[in-house]
């Protein structure tokens, strides 16, 4: 699944660890989500969306839409 996490982080000047701390996951988890190796659960996707003030589909793209 593609996502805009790296862009959104860069816009705020956040590291992976910074983002991880804000959503309650490890830096490795953020890296895995960023690189598409791990699809976040729905609750985590909602936390990310709330943090960035965006809708889930504005952050994640499954390539179908």
């Amino acid at each position: 699944m593609q996502n805009r996490l790296r862009v959104l982080q860069a816009e705020r000047g956040w590291s992976q660890a910074e983002l991880g701390g804000r959503i309650g996951v490890s830096r490795q988890a953020v890296n895995a989500i960023e690189t598409g190796k791990h699809d976040p659960s729905l609750p985590l996707a909602f936390r990310l969306a709330r943090l960035f003030g965006a809708r889930i589909e504005e952050i994640f793209n499954d390539g179908e839409g």
Binding site: A17, E18, G21, S26, Q28, I33, S41, R47, R50
Partner: protein, 146 residues
Amino acid sequence: MMAKVEDFDGAASGEALERSRRRRKYWLLGILGGGGFAAGFLSGYTQADQLFDPAYKWPPALGVGLVIAYLVAAIGGGMLYSRYTDEFARMAQYKAVALGAGAYVIVYPVWLLLWKSGLVPEPMHFIIYLLFMAVVLIASLFYRVH
């Protein structure tokens, strides 16, 4: 522990929170590892001469004490550890355990059938347990890194 986004609308930076969570996890692992080492040391120190002699029985008090320590560490420690673990690490762990179970399902019947055919020694539960743990450990590391 999973925290909600709203918890972070304050002074603490995400990096500090992530570091703190990681530190708590390492402390817990250190305590569990230290407990395991102490249990192993105690067993080895008191039963050194007959540690692996199948005919020799350990004192019941030692066995019961070790079982209680193990249950506390495995159940209590596991519950605490899961609070410091995020979904990515948990998923890696699930996959690793599934792989370990797959190894068990394959290895044990094959070994049993070969033993029944007189080709290999009788299956050893300790070896199978070690194999399961080794597969889980290696797979867990693999899934976390890749």
